[in-house]
Point group: C2
Amino acid sequence: MTLARPQPAFSAARQQSVAAALRALLPPASILSDLEDTRPYECDGLSAYRQPPMVVALPQSEQEVLAVLKVCRDMQVPIVPRGAGTGLSGGAMPIADGVVLSTARLNRIVRLDAYARTAVVQPGVRNLAISDAAAPYGLYYAPDPSSQIACTIGGNVAENSGGVHCLKYGLTVHNVLRVRMATIEGDVVELGGEALDAPGLDLLAAFIGSEGMLGIVTEVTVKLVPKPAVARVIMASFDSVVAGGNAVARVIAAGIIPAGLEMMDQTSACMVEPFVQAGYDTGAAAILLCEADGTPEEVEEEIARMKAVLEGAGAGAIQVSSSEQERMRFWSGRKNAFPAAGRISPDYYCMDGTIPRKHLARVLTGIAEVEGKYGLRCANVFHAGDGNLHPLILFDANQPDELQRAEAFGAEILALCVEVGGTITGEHGVGIEKIDSMCAQFKVAELEAFFGVKRAFDPPGLLNPNKAIPTLNRCAEFGKMRVTGGVLPHAGLPRF
Amino acid sequence: MTLARPQPAFSAARQQSVAAALRALLPPASILSDLEDTRPYECDGLSAYRQPPMVVALPQSEQEVLAVLKVCRDMQVPIVPRGAGTGLSGGAMPIADGVVLSTARLNRIVRLDAYARTAVVQPGVRNLAISDAAAPYGLYYAPDPSSQIACTIGGNVAENSGGVHCLKYGLTVHNVLRVRMATIEGDVVELGGEALDAPGLDLLAAFIGSEGMLGIVTEVTVKLVPKPAVARVIMASFDSVVAGGNAVARVIAAGIIPAGLEMMDQTSACMVEPFVQAGYDTGAAAILLCEADGTPEEVEEEIARMKAVLEGAGAGAIQVSSSEQERMRFWSGRKNAFPAAGRISPDYYCMDGTIPRKHLARVLTGIAEVEGKYGLRCANVFHAGDGNLHPLILFDANQPDELQRAEAFGAEILALCVEVGGTITGEHGVGIEKIDSMCAQFKVAELEAFFGVKRAFDPPGLLNPNKAIPTLNRCAEFGKMRVTGGVLPHAGLPRF
C-alpha cells in the first residue's frame, strides 16, 4: 500500500517546551522528540493510519508515569498510551500535538505467587513472558491473542484481548483480578482485588477494554491457571459453510465447552496451506478445529463426544491430533492466517465483528453474496465458538478505488453483524477505525453513560481523545442521529 | 430485640402532592401512602434499622417505572428501589421523605431460550422461579443465595448476590449477560449483551452490585447452565479450625474447584444440630462440606481426589453422601445456620467479610481471641472456598451494652479482614450497615471514582442516596481521613 506520510503538526517552540518540562522530571534519554526517534511510534497494527507524535515518553516507574501525566495536565497536552503497538484498530495511533506514553520500560514481573496462582506484573510485560515465568510451576496465563509473543499485558487490558482459547478460558477481563492505575489528576487508584467480590462499584470491567481513555495502567494482577496435562484437536471438513456453522451450534448445544472452536472457509484454507503445510483439506468449503484439554481421561471422553457430534452434523474427513507436534501443526494454519493473507494479496483489511452463534451460517452466506458486489475476495476465519468473526478482505491499495471498496465492504459486514444482534468489534477494539460504527451500535443515552464515566476519570479529556467513543457531534455528521433545527439533543457535552 | 419504631418524617401536604402526582400516571392501587400500607416496607433483612417510607410505588411495566422516576425527578423525591426486601445490609431501607419503588409487580418471565441457554426476566422474578421455569429443559440459574426462594433477580443484581455454589459457578455478575434499566433522567439503557465482548465501556459489572444507586432495572438476561447429572458432598471433621482452614487451602491448591466448599466451626455445628438433625459431628472443632457435581464419572473421580486431600490434611471422620436425600441433609445444617442462631440467642449480628484463603486459619484464631474481650460468643460459618466469612455474633439486645459490644466486635472482625488483605463485604453489600467501614477500605481517589460514576448516571443524586458509598464528609466524621485546616481534600463533592 502506498502511504502518505503526514508531517509533524505542532510548533517547534511547543515541542521544545513540552520536551523540556518532561526532561526536567525524567532522565533525558527517556524523552524522544527528534522525528527519526518518534517515527517508529507513528502507527500501531492498523498501519493505514499514521501520525508521528510530538513527543514520546518512556517512563520506568509509577512515579515517572505520574510525572508525565502532571506535565501533560499542566500544559494541556493530549496523551496516547502505547504497549507494544500490535493493536489492530488504531487505538495507539498518535495525536499530532500529543505525547505517546510508552510502557515499554515498565517491564518487570513484580511477584509470582504459585500458591495463590497470581502474578503481579508491570504493564509493559509481554503476554507470553507471563506464561514463561509461570511455566516452572505448571501454570500459565490463559488469554492468547495471536500477537502474544509481542503484545503487552497493558495493551491487553486496554483492548480486553481474547485469543483462540477464550471460549473456555475467557477474555482479559475474566483473567485479571486487579489493575493499579494512575489518573490524569495524579492519583493512584486500584480497581478490583483478589477476593471474589468487593464493596463499592466494580469498575475493573469498565476499565478493561477502555482503550486508554480512563487512566494509565501501572500494575496488573493476573490469574494463572494450571497447564492442562493434555490437549488434542479435531480437524473436520464440511462441504458448506452452512453445515460448518451448524456443527458449531451443535457442539455448544451438546453442553461441550471446547478449549478452542475455530472455523476457516475454503478461501482461508487455500490461502494458508501453501504457506504452512498444515495438511488442511483445501477441497472442503469449511474446516473446523475443535480442541479439548484437561486430564487424559477428560480429553479422551470429550474428543469422543465432539467427534460424534461433528459426524452427526455431516463432517466429511475427520482427523484427531495424536501428538503435541501434530496439534501445533493443525493450529499453525489458523494462527498464520494474517501473515498468509499478506503473501497472496498486497493488502488486507481484517474485520472483527461478533454475532450470536445461531446466525453464523446466515452471516457467512451474506458475506459471500456481497463479495461479488464489491469485486473483492474475502477470506473468513472465526473464533466460531464465541461468534467472533475475522473476515479478511483482500485488496490492492494501488488499484484505483480498491481501498474505498474494501472499506465499504467492511462496513457492510459490520452492519450485518449488528443487524443479527451482534457487535462491531469482538476483541480488536474500536480505536479510530470503528468509531463511526459505534454510532450505529449505541443509543444517545448509552453514549452519554460512557461520556459520564469518561468525565469522572478524565475531566480535562486528555487521555487518548477521539478514540473508542464517538462524540454526539461526530455521530450527527455520520448521519446516524437526527439533528433537530441544527441543535443536537443533549448539546453541550464536552468533546473527548 | 426491642426496636424503636420511628414515625413518619414528612409533611402531610408533601406526601399528598407526591402521591397525587404518582396516581395521575399509575393506577391508584399501585400507590401506597397510608401508614398501615407502607409499614411492611419499613426495613429489609437488616431489621435493626426501620423507617416507613412516605410513599410506596408498585409499577407494573417499564413505562410505569419511567413515570415514577419522572415524578420523583420533577419533585426532587429520593427513591429507594426494593426487590423482596431480603437484603442483609439495609440497602432497601426507606428514606423518611422518599418513595420506595417496589419491583414486586414486575414479575414476568419474558422469554426463555433453551437453545441459547438464556432467560429474559423482569426484575421482580424470584431467583428460584427462574430455575423452576428452566427445569423442564434440564437447565437452571446458578447463583443460589440462602434467600433464593424469596429474593428477586433485581435485588440479586443490586447486591451482586452469591451463594454456596459461587466458588464454581460465580456470583450474579458472572451469570448475568445484560441489564436493561431506566435512568433517573428518563432514558432506557442496555448494559452488556449476549456476545462475549462488546465495544464501548463495559458498565455491566459496575451496575451489578451498585445497590440501586445508578438506575432501576427493568429487565435482566441471565445465563442458564445445564443441571449436573449428579452431585455428592463430603462431610469431614477436623480437630482444630486451623487444620480445617489448611484443608481448604490444600483442596484448592490441588487444582480442584468444588461445586461448594463450606466450613462451620463447633459453635455453629452445636447450634444447628438440635434444630435440623443433619448428623453433624458436634465433637469436631470444624466441619467441612465439600461438593462435587457433573457426570457420574467426573463426580466419582473428584470425590476420590477430594477425599484423599482431606485425609492428607488430617480429617477425622469422613462421610460421603450416597443419595440426593442424604446430600440435602448434609447441607441442611449449613443452610439453616441463621434461623438456628435465632433459636439459641435472642439476637445475632451476621458479618460478611472476605479474606485471602491463605489467611483463613489466622483470622479464625483472631476471632476466637476477641470473643473473650467482648464477652460474646461467635458462631462461624464460611463460604470457605472463596474466603467469604459469615461470623454470627450472638447477643441479647435487652442486656445493657450488648448491642454496642456486638457492633464493636463486628467492626474488629472487619478490620482484621481488611488487615490481611480482604474486604468488608463478600456478598451482602454495604447498604447502610457497613458504610463507615468503606472509609477504611478505600482511598479518597477511589471514592471519587465511585462518585464520578454515580454522578454520570444520577446527576440529581436521587437514587438510593446515602447508601453503599460514604461521602468524604462522612469519612472525615468517621475519623479515617485527615482533615487539614477544617477543609476536606477535594471539597465541593456533591452529597449523595
